[in-house]
């Protein structure tokens, strides 16, 4: 049972942790937060931007892995369609960039350097909904994510005094529900801000926080204490993952203790077996059997016993997994049902540890009779 719970808890810890990954571009346990807008902030009594010291204070909390500002454009940007297949559409937009470390996206698709004629962008999903509403109103068929990624777009970058202006092509490489602005690579934002900004200080109104796994409750507490807010969906997923993760961590802890205790009992059984056969071992040594040969015989016998235990544990795990996956699915948690390498790895580690322990038990027992 110890082995079964060990594999089960590790498997589901990994799966719960993976939950939501890949669907979103922000890394696991990462949220974007801003200060809550109150009446006093409207009247400019309290600030809605983050100072450097505020960011450092949040970063110094033990349950926070990293904090980085979300950089926004400090110049005018407009976005338009530039494709014969799609009707003309143009809008002033707000662009942002987030640190590469926080993004769960392949770097090959996500880079830009001065001189490049195409900017990869990550589009808020709401924007696609808006675009489809517009297409529908024009009597044009709506487009899917994949089709949208094939459409040519164009940015117009312009200084606030309208003296400088530049056009650059853009292509969607992904969508997000987590960020409200169009995301662009960091280099492109730096280029735009350096070239088109009027030189005024740029305020940091949003920051990204990456919290430690299973300590999401502490992150939430911090947000509340500091009057910060995040998108509700991000909070719910984080809370859910943290809660289930904690539950499985408890089960994992109990499993490790159970496996350790079972291991001790098995080793004691092996010692008992060896002492019960002490006469036979002694006699075999006296008639010319090599100690290593007898050690090998006992060792093979021991690892067969644990092989059966491990096999039973694995079978029980598959039965448990079948029921737990069904329960998670019924509860709306669509986790990957494949076998995790980590759970099989844990079984292998337990097997190897027991193998080593049995070898040394056999060796000690045989040489005691030598």
């Amino acid at each position: 049972m110890g082995i079964t719970f060990l594999i089960t808890s590790i498997h589901y810890l990994i799966r719960v942790n993976e939950f939501g990954e890949g669907e979103e571009i922000l890394g696991p346990n990462t949220i974007i937060v801003q200060k809550q807008v109150s009446n006093s902030s409207v009247l400019n009594i309290t600030r809605t931007d983050f100072s450097k010291s505020e960011i450092e204070k949040i970063k110094s909390e033990s349950f926070i892995l990293d904090v980085k500002p979300v950089v926004a454009n400090n110049f005018s940007v407009s976005f338009q369609t530039d494709d014969a297949l799609v009707p003309y559409f143009r809008s002033d937009v707000f662009i942002q960039t987030v640190d590469q470390d926080f993004l769960d996206i392949k770097t090959d698709n996500w880079n830009w350097k001065e001189g490049d004629t195409l900017v990869p962008i990550i589009m808020p999903r709401d924007f696609l909904v808006m675009l489809n509403t517009f297409m529908s109103a024009k009597g044009i068929p709506q487009i899917s994510d994949d089709l949208a990624m094939g459409i040519n777009f164009k940015f117009t970058l312009e200084s606030k005094d309208k003296e400088k202006k530049e056009w650059i092509d853009a292509k969607i490489v992904g969508f997000t529900n987590e960020v409200a602005a169009i995301l662009v690579p960091e280099n492109f934002m730096t280029y735009g801000n350096n070239k088109f900004s009027d030189g005024s200080d740029q305020k940091v109104t949003q920051i990204m926080i990456s919290g430690k796994e299973s300590e999401f409750g502490l992150v939430e507490e911090l947000l509340e204490k500091r009057g910060l807010e995040s998108k509700n969906s991000q909070m719910v997923i984080g809370r859910l993952k943290s809660m289930i993760g904690t539950l499985f961590l408890v089960v994992l802890g109990i499993s490790v203790i159970a496996v350790f205790m079972s291991g001790l009992v098995l080793i004691q059984y092996l010692q008992l077996l060896m002492s019960k056969n002490a006469y036979e071992v002694r006699t075999l040594l006296r008639i010319g059997y090599h100690p290593d040969e007898i050690i090998r015989k006992f060792f093979v016998y021991f690892i067969r016993i644990f092989g059966i235990v491990a096999g039973l544990g694995l079978t029980m795990f598959f039965i448990f997994k079948y029921f737990l996956d069904s329960m998670f699915e019924s509860g709306g948690l669509y986790i990957d049902t494949g076998i995790t390498l980590g759970s099989i790895g844990a079984l292998l580690i337990a097997y190897l540890l027991f193998t080593a322990a049995s070898y040394f038990t056999a060796k000690k027992g045989i040489f005691k009779e030598y």
């Binding site: 075999l284 006296r286 008639i287 010319g288 059997y289």
Partner: protein, 213 residues
């Protein structure tokens, strides 16, 4: 292989007075191919001699040499080689596997050395009139029958020395003689020597040497 006992004195026997002709505390050479009787009364260390010479006991002073090599230097692999090919022993307590049959007891040794075929082993048992016990559990045999099985097992390996600790103590004269005949033939065949510990009975055999404890 010559065995040298250079002033060997087992610790448990150190407090006992040993005679001037005792091997304990003396320089003794067991020369290759010699047939030796080791004569002593009870408690003088016959079993201690067997187990010490066979390397099972190390609680002694002095030096024990196999062909000039101190046996304290032997590694587990060396000891395996000695017990498989150089020295065969019939222990006083026989050291058979009581739960295994006669066949299994003999094959367990013979498979290690590949000395005899099964039919040859059966012939040896036949000579000692216990061939009908082939499939019988050793623990259920009489002590005399078990002694004969242990003697046949000791034959089932190549050796330079055969050391026997009161091997005929439960045998009648006729059976003891049959056993001695087999032992004689086997040692002659290999040019090996043997040491037979006894309480004084030479079993009508002419030994090359007689030692005392």
């Amino acid at each position: 292989m010559n065995i040298t006992l250079a002033n060997i004195m087992p610790t448990p026997l150190a407090s006992i007075n040993h005679g001037a002709d005792s091997i304990w505390g003396s320089q003794i050479e067991l020369e290759h191919g010699k047939r030796i009787m080791l004569n002593a009364s009870s408690g003088k260390g016959k079993s201690t001699f067997t187990t010490t010479v066979f390397g099972l006991r190390r609680d002694y002073t002095g030096t024990l040499l196999y062909d000039g090599r101190d046996i304290r230097e032997l590694t587990p692999s060396d000891w395996t080689e000695v017990r498989k090919t150089k020295i065969s022993v019939v222990f006083q307590d026989l050291q058979l596997f009581p739960k295994l049959s006669v066949r299994e007891n003999l094959l367990l040794k013979n498979e290690l050395t590949d000395t005899y075929t099964e039919s040859e082993l059966k012939k040896l048992l036949e000579k000692l009139e216990i061939d009908n016990k082939w499939e019988q559990q050793c623990g259920l045999l009489s002590m005399g029958q078990q002694q004969r099985v242990a003697i046949v097992r000791a034959m089932a390996q190549p050796f330079s020395w055969l050391i026997m600790d009161e091997p005929f103590s439960h045998l009648d004269v006729d059976n003891a003689n049959k056993c001695l005949e087999i032992i004689h033939d086997r040692t002659m065949e290999q040019g090996a020597g043997f040491v037979l510990t006894s309480l004084g009975n030479n079993h009508g055999y002419t030994f090359d040497q007689e030692l005392k404890l």
